[in-house]
Each structure stands twice: as C-alpha cells, then as structure tokens.
C-alpha cells in the first residue's frame, strides 16, 4: 500500500486538519468531526445536515456552503458517523426552522442517523430525513438492505439545499429531496478495488483484464465480473442498465452525472461522458445539464458511475441556483 498518510489511525483527523487549513469559509470541529459553514445564514432557514463514511470525498464536507449543506459529519473510512456527531451538527446549525438529514441508504448510516434524529427530536429540534437509494445494481426487495445511495446524493443535496436557501419550510425541502431521489438512478463499474488504509490491501482482487460491474462505493464486490471492453461499449451498457430501471421516455430531459470513483483521470471520464451522451441520444433522451468529475468517490478505486435524474423546469431552476462550496461552485 502506497498512500500519502501519516498513519492509518490518523487519516480522518489529519484530513480534517487539512480541510480546515484550506477552507477558511468552513468551520471544522476536528475533535467532534463536524464541518459547518464558518458564516451562518443571515436569516433562519432549514438546515441541511449530511454525512457518511469517509473515503467518498468531496462528499459530504466538500458540499458544505451557501446553496447546499449546512453541516457534514464524516465517519471513519467507509464507516458511518456516530449519532453524537450528527446531534452535534444538528444543534450547531438549527435556526429553529428545522433540520433535514440527507442519508445514504446503508444499514449503518440509517441506524446511526435514526438514533441521532430521535435524540435531536427529544431536544425539540424538528427533524426530517431524506433517504437516498439510487443504485440500480441492488435489487430493492426483502432480500436486500435496499438500494444503496450513491451519485444521486449530490443532486439531492444541491437541489434541496437551493430550496432551503430560499426559505422554504422543512416539509417542502424534504419533499423536493425525495422527489430528486425518486427521479434518479445510478450504476457503477470499477476497474480496480479500493484500498482502505487500515486494511492495507485492496478490498477484492481483480485481474488486469477484468472489471467489476454493479459495484458499490465501499470496496464491496459488485454484481458480476466481466472482461474490460472499450469505453463505448461499457458506457452503452451502463446507460441501458440505468434506463431499464428508469421511467424515462424519448423526449425527456435529464441531469447527467458521470462521476469518477477516485482513481480515474478526468480525461477518461470525459471519454465516458461523450459515449453516454451518444447512447442517450440514440434513446431520444436529452441531457439538459451535465456534471463530470469526482464527486462521490471510493478512495482510490478506478471506474465511474452514471447518475441520470429526470428533470423538469422546477428541478432545473433549483439545480442552476447559486452555490458556493469547495467542490461545487456556481454564481
């Protein structure tokens, strides 16, 4: 394992110290592991709090700022935050208008955020939760923990964050978050496995010429293994897989996110995006907005995920609203 770390035990604390040093616009509580905006919103508004295991940067800390999150709670690498963190964050950012928790659907995240929500409610903080579960690689049935939350998290946080910034009440902010999630589907392909610093070796062994299809963002193996193929074929298969689970029809518009998993160059992500656009055009689906880059990563995993969110005028208007965070910026 070759990593730019001091020690596997201090990865999170050292990274948070770096975030604090790099971003004076953020307030980083290193001992409690909570990132908030350094400058509070001028008027009371619904506060958005998210969090999850570390290793998915810039998710979630990179999305704290005007127009998006009010606080992020990073857990240990690939481990959900603990309830104390979420409660500390909720207390810090609640202005009386309530707190929306944006939670990716993983067993640990759901439990820890649920315990935190119960504690916050006992303190009189109004709390709602939006669960993000967009990954079509997992069959949503009684046979699984349900679909994983992946790329759609960025869209939920951006769009709900924009509505909250305008002073909408908690119920409406939660509703738009749920609407974005329901309109989103994602699917990922990995070329290599991620190496968790504490484990010191890749989460699974993948031969040089094979890829893991339907992979998650925690180093767990995917749905199946295949031989590596040209980007055109892979992108087409991923588009078709997402569309097969989507209610998109010819003439519909989407927000398309081609997301790098951490170890893939932007050059390759743009190759993939070009192929995705071509395949979507064959299906008659129009890309209304696009986002290409590393937003929901899995440490050093090579590969990409595709998220397609069915768009309408209302969602696009919120998507286009100003945002000022370390990882997403639009004036």
């Amino acid at each position: 394992m070759k990593k730019l770390i001091n020690s596997p035990e201090s990865v999170l604390a050292d990274a948070l110290a770096g975030v604090a040093a790099a971003h004076p616009e953020l307030a980083v509580d290193v001992p409690n592991r909570v990132i908030t905006r350094a400058v509070r919103p001028a008027a009371p508004k619904v506060a958005l709090v998210s969090g999850g295991g570390s290793g998915h940067e810039p998710l979630h800390g990179g999305f704290v700022g005007p127009g998006m999150l009010d606080a992020a709670c990073p857990g240990e690498v690939f481990t959900s935050p603990v309830p104390d963190q979420v409660l500390t964050a909720a207390r810090a950012v609640d202005s009386g208008a309530g707190v929306l928790l944006v939670v990716k659907n993983y067993t640990g995240d759901v439990m820890n955020f649920r315990l935190a929500a119960e504690l916050a409610a006992e303190e009189g903080i109004e709390v709602r939760t939006v669960l993000v579960d967009d990954d079509v690689a997992v069959r949503d049935s009684t046979w699984t923990a349900g679909r994983r939350g992946t790329g759609a998290t960025v869209l939920v946080e951006k769009i709900a964050g924009a509505l909250a910034e305008r002073g909408a009440p908690l119920a409406e902010v939660a509703a738009v978050g749920e609407r974005v999630n329901a309109a989103s589907r994602s699917f990922a392909v990995a070329l290599t496995a991620a190496t968790v610093p504490a484990a010191g070796k890749p989460g699974f062994d993948l031969p040089e010429d094979e890829i893991e299809v339907g992979v998650g963002i925690h180093g767990e193996p995917g749905r199946r293994r295949e031989k590596l193929r040209p980007a055109r074929e892979l992108a087409a298969e991923v588009v078709d897989t997402v569309l097969a689970d989507h209610d998109l029809a010819a003439g519909d518009e989407v927000i398309a996110l081609v997301n790098g998993l951490g170890g893939t160059p932007l050059l390759e992500l743009y190759i993939v995006f070009g192929e995705v656009a071509a395949r979507l055009a064959e299906h008659g689906v129009t890309i209304a907005r696009s986002l290409v880059g590393n937003f929901v990563t899995s440490l050093d995993m090579a590969g990409f995920s595709l998220t397609l969110t069915k768009a309408d005028a209302g969602l696009l208007e919120l998507w286009d609203a100003p945002v000022a965070t370390p990882a997403l910026h639009r004036s």
């Binding site: 309830p83 046979w143 193996p221």
Partner: protein, 228 residues
C-alpha cells in the same frame, strides 16, 4: 455447574440457592473486559470475514469501540450490573459507527435497562438478554435466517432460557447459550444475506460465515467463561 458463594449473591440480598448465582457489577464488568479481550484477539478474523462479504471493518470497528469501553469502565466503576452494561452500550453507540455500533450498543443498553438495581438472578438476566435481542431486531429489522448476528443471538437466548427454566444457574445457562451461539454462527455459512452490506452480493454471500454472528458467539462464549 455453578458454585456460588455468599459474596457473589450480593451482600445477602441475592437468592439463596447455589444454582441462582447473581449477575452483579463485578461479574458484569468481568464479562465486558473478557469480551474486549476476545475482540482484540479475534480482530483480524472478524475483519477477514467482513472483507469477504462486507467492507472489512468489523474487527477494527469493534476493537475501537471496546477500547473506549475499557477506558470508561476504568474511570467510572459503575455501581451495578445494569450500569456496567448500559455504559458499555452508550459507549459503543458513541464510538463505533457502522451497523455494529448501534446494534451492539442498543443491545447492551437494553440489557442494562432491563436489569434490576440488585444483582440479577439467572431468570432476570435471561429477561435482559431478551430485551437486548428485541432492541437489535427493532433497530436492524433482521429476522432469523437473514445471515446476521440475530442468527447467533436467537438460539443462544433460547438455550439460555431453556437452561434457566430447567433450574440451571448462570454458568450452566451461559455455557448452553455459548454452544448454541456457535452452532448458529456456523449455520450462517450456507445462508444468503438479506440484511446489511452482504445482501448486496446476493448469492455471492453464500459460503461465508457472517462476521456479526461470529462476534455474537464471542459475546456468549466470554459470558460462559466468566461465569463458569
């Protein structure tokens, strides 16, 4: 079988029969310390099991949690068994994260809350163990057969209750529970996971022993060790 002494019965307030040795604060603390030591010894094994079907952090997460629990016990010296288990639970919830923190944390908190302030009889402790399982199932939603810690806990609790109903003391009941937990643990290998991250693998989860059931087997084995 159990060989009780007046000391263990808790200042004369406990039950009088040798079979009914009580769970008091020192015994509860001995259990948690033995469990922490077992997690330390088996950390790598738990993590390797989790790497196969999860995300490879079960051993390190529990290790981090129980290291914190030991620090709390060193500092606090809780007054009764309920407080020992309750503090263990709240510390695990605060320090572990993931699924195992809330699940084991809630289990120990529920056990602690269910125990009387006086040393608990085997029957009372059986009730506390049942409260622990109920908390796990309420929070995680897992049922027997889902390839989770419930598959070790459920038969262990049943064996403990059967043994107590048959007149066994803590040691006998804990020993029966430990054996049942280990059988339940081994029986998770052919199952397909329906909860947690292992469920994402579908049929690929078959053939691997569940890490949560494995740590639960440690929980009951260490209980048998300290009461025996």
């Amino acid at each position: 079988m159990d060989h009780d002494t007046p000391d263990h019965a808790g200042a004369g307030t406990g039950p009088s029969t040798p079979e009914a040795r009580a769970l008091d604060a020192p015994l509860a603390e001995a259990w948690i310390r033995a469990l922490a030591a077992a997690v330390d010894v088996h950390q790598r094994e738990l993590t390797d099991l989790d790497s196969a079907i999860g995300d490879g952090d079960h051993g390190s997460n529990l290790h981090r949690g129980f290291t914190a629990v030991l620090a709390v016990l060193d500092a606090l010296q809780p007054a009764d068994a309920g407080a020992v288990l309750g503090r263990t639970g709240s510390t695990l919830i605060s320090k572990v994260g993931g699924a195992s923190g809330p699940l084991y944390g809630s289990a120990f908190r529920a056990m602690g809350a269910a125990l009387p302030p006086s040393p608990a009889t085997p029957a009372e402790f059986a009730g506390a163990l049942a409260a622990g399982l109920a908390a796990v199932r309420r929070l995680g939603g897992a049922a027997p057969g889902d390839k989770t810690l419930v598959d070790a806990y459920t038969p262990a609790l049943a064996a403990f209750e059967r043994a107590v109903a048959g007149g066994a003391g803590l040691a006998g009941a804990a020993s029966a529970a430990a054996e049942a937990a280990e059988r339940g643990m081994r029986a998770t290998t052919p199952l397909q996971a329906r909860k947690g991250r292992a469920s994402y693998l579908g049929p690929r989860s078959i053939g691997h022993q569940d890490p949560g059931a494995t740590s639960t087997a440690l929980l009951f084995r260490t209980l048998a060790d300290v009461t025996g």
